[in-house]
């Protein structure tokens, strides 16, 4: 899966490498967003790109999220391939009209005669002490909208391959990067490669239960699976990687094998991606294989708090996944 190259880079570097390689390959690809030039973006993802590609293709904008999105949409309508950055996913709320009412709708409402090949990159998630307006995981809002695609990679390898695919895709793609993953290292081939959108990945094989998780929760689920293994419980960890379109088959196949499923997400439960994942299982043939009810482990029903202890308590941690997995593995025996 991770190629033969032994080179390891961070998730942040993998995102940057995807941007650089696509910008070198295709002159229609350009970046726009707040402070993405000299500053390098709030998290440093675009550092160094201004020097190579110049201010026209690494295009800094005023603090105008609706105009950033609109500029990306209009350029995409003209056949360019803009990659816009929304500094924190929380701020995407200001661009919602453009993304949901314009980008997602134009192709359909114009009878299939337009396409909007844009990527909206945005860092999401908690764990940085930035509190309620800089830590949200709003991916479910976009998964709900026909016309958008939503990608949420969990490893450096996936981040690079999925971002390249997203840039080459002819539709608007919301590309959710998790801030806590930026420093994670992993093997990433130097050459350009793609990972198809809509293809899940089995991150760990196991026979006793299936854990479906995405973004940072994949890493926590993998750590939890190692601890469960020491107790004799073998968890299979499935990462959908793309939340829309969703690879339902891989999830269903795994649950048919393990008969137990734990769905993990950082966002609060109500109408979240986890609800769709759970429904996917119970609406499928996997329902007949279930030995225990589908279990969701989600963020608590609160805005993300500032204090370190409170912030940790607000979203699933490794020990929570271990406890939920252990309990689920014992149920229905």
């Amino acid at each position: 899966m991770s190629g033969v190259s032994g080179r390891e880079i961070t998730y942040l570097e993998a995102v940057r490498e995807a941007l650089i390689q696509e910008m070198r390959r295709d002159p229609e690809v350009f970046l726009l967003g707040e402070d993405i030039g000299v500053y390098g973006g709030a998290f440093g993802v675009t550092r160094g790109l201004l020097e190579e590609f110049g201010p026209e293709r690494v295009r800094e904008t005023p603090i105008s999220e609706a105009a950033i999105a609109g500029a990306a949409i209009g350029a995409a309508l003209m056949g360019m391939r803009p990659v816009m950055e929304i500094m924190f996913m929380d701020f995407i709320t200001i661009a919602m009209n453009q993304l949901v009412n314009q980008a997602a709708k134009m192709r359909f409402m114009f009878g299939g005669k337009a396409s909007i090949p844009l990527v909206c990159r945005t860092p999401a998630g908690s764990g940085t002490g930035a509190a309620a307006q800089h830590c949200q995981s709003l991916e479910a809002w976009f998964v709900h909208v026909p016309g958008l695609k939503v990608v949420a990679p969990s490893t450096p390898y996936d981040a690079k391959g999925l971002l390249i695919s997203s840039i080459r895709d002819n539709n608007p793609v919301i590309f959710v990067e998790h801030k806590l993953l930026y420093r994670d290292r992993g093997p990433v081939p130097e050459d350009s490669y793609t990972i198809p959108l809509g293809l899940a990945d089995v991150k760990r094989e196991g026979r006793d239960l299936t854990i479906v998780a995405y973004s940072v929760m994949v890493q926590r689920a993998l750590e939890a699976a190692e601890r469960l293994a020491r107790e004799g419980i073998e968890a299979e960890v499935i990462d959908p990687r793309t939340l829309r379109p969703l690879d339902r088959e891989t999830i269903v196949r795994s649950v048919c094998k393990t008969s137990r499923v734990l769905v993990v997400q950082e966002a609060p439960a109500a109408c979240g991606v986890g609800a769709e994942l759970a429904a996917t299982v119970v609406e499928s043939e996997a329902f007949d294989y279930l030995d225990a009810p589908v279990r969701r482990l989600t963020g608590r029903d609160v805005p993300i708090p500032y204090n370190r202890t409170l912030e940790r308590a607000a979203v699933p941690q490794v020990e929570d996944i271990v406890a939920a997995g252990r309990q689920l593995a014992r149920e229905g025996r």
Binding site: A72, G74, P82, N97, Q98, F110, N171
Partner: protein
């Protein structure tokens, strides 16, 4: 009016005749739309621009064939002036498969992308940020084409207007922002929605030219937009043109006109942009009364034929409805 008189004598007769034809086609298209609606042949809503025809037609008259437009829910005039096939427009209004949007968009979302009409958006002001991107692509590709971005007076109170016009100014984009200012939102008069007399003064905040225009004088509109288009094409950045006009009909079919007086409506009907242009053409001796009437009759015949034909078109099938959601 001095400028308009000069233009009557200097513009090619062909152009003047085109302006009258497009205004008449718009007027008759909308009257036909009302009629079809009254006969119960129309499923959805419509937003009529009767009385406002000079703003889109005069503006688009200032464009070259390769130029582009983005417009709004009250967009029949823009679509006709940009050269749409009226039969396909009527087909879209009737929700038919051969319509411009294959019956998926309706009256509010007619687009003809190969024809440079990048579509009508139904959320007030939404076309403005999108226009920034279209103009950005023109600039980045070193194109000499320009974009007209139309919106109503209500849009200028939205954040998207501010964000979009500011960014277009900062980047000196080849776009002209045109306000089809009919002086009302759905029912909210501009005097209660803003504390300035002229929308054009908002241009000062973005460091771009702004001009208030008699929006019922098609030649005045043409002249103001021609100057703005020239600036945009030379790389001098955007302008704001405020065409002050009036819609005779309600906002949409649900409107009972409770927010304005019949006297006010009648007073504006006496300023009809089509009657005024016809009189100017005849009075100045550019056209005879018969020539003007011939243009009117041809426009009416075009619309009648379009409606007849469109009514015979097939309905779209719900099968494969998902096919247009994503591009391959």
């Amino acid at each position: 009016m001095g400028d308009s008189r000069r233009l009557l004598n200097h513009l090619p007769r062909e152009k003047l005749s085109w302006m009258l034809q497009k205004m008449c086609e718009t007027r008759y298209f909308e009257e036909k739309a009302e009629e079809l609606y009254a006969r119960g042949l129309v499923h959805g809503t419509m937003h009529l621009s009767i009385g406002m025809e000079a703003s889109p037609v005069g503006s688009i008259a200032a464009l070259e064939p390769g130029d582009l437009i983005i417009h709004h829910h009250r967009g029949h005039g823009h679509t006709i002036a940009k050269g749409a096939d009226i039969t396909l427009m009527m087909a879209e209004f009737l929700g038919k498969e051969p319509g411009y949007c294959r019956g998926r968009g309706g009256s509010m979302h007619i687009a003809d992308i190969p024809g440079g009409n990048l579509g009508a958006t139904g959320v007030v002001a939404s076309g403005i940020p999108t226009a920034v991107g279209v103009a950005l692509a023109l600039q980045m590709r070193r194109s000499d084409r320009v974009l007209l971005c139309f919106f109503g007076d209500g849009a200028t109170n939205s954040g998207e207007f501010h964000e979009g016009v500011n960014l277009a100014s900062v980047w000196k984009l080849p776009v002209v922002f045109i306000c089809d200012n009919n002086q009302y939102g759905m029912s909210m008069p501009i005097r209660r929605a803003m504390n300035i007399d002229h929308i054009a003064t908002r241009a000062v905040a973005y460091g771009i030219p702004g001009q208030t225009v008699d929006g019922n004088d098609v030649l005045a509109v043409y002249e103001a937009v021609r100057v703005a288009v020239g600036r945009a094409r030379l790389g001098q950045g955007p302008s704001l043109v405020d065409n002050v006009t009036y819609r005779w009909r309600g906002h949409s079919k649900s409107d009972r006109n409770l927010y304005r007086s019949q006297e006010e409506i009648e007073a504006w009907k006496r300023k009809c942009p089509i009657a005024r242009f016809k009189a100017a053409l005849v009075d100045s001796g550019v056209m005879t009364r018969e020539e003007v009437e011939t243009i009117e009759q041809q426009a009416r015949a075009t619309v009648d034929r379009a409606a007849e034909e469109a009514l015979t078109f097939p309905e779209p099938s719900p099968e494969h409805l998902e096919d247009e959601v994503y591009a391959p």
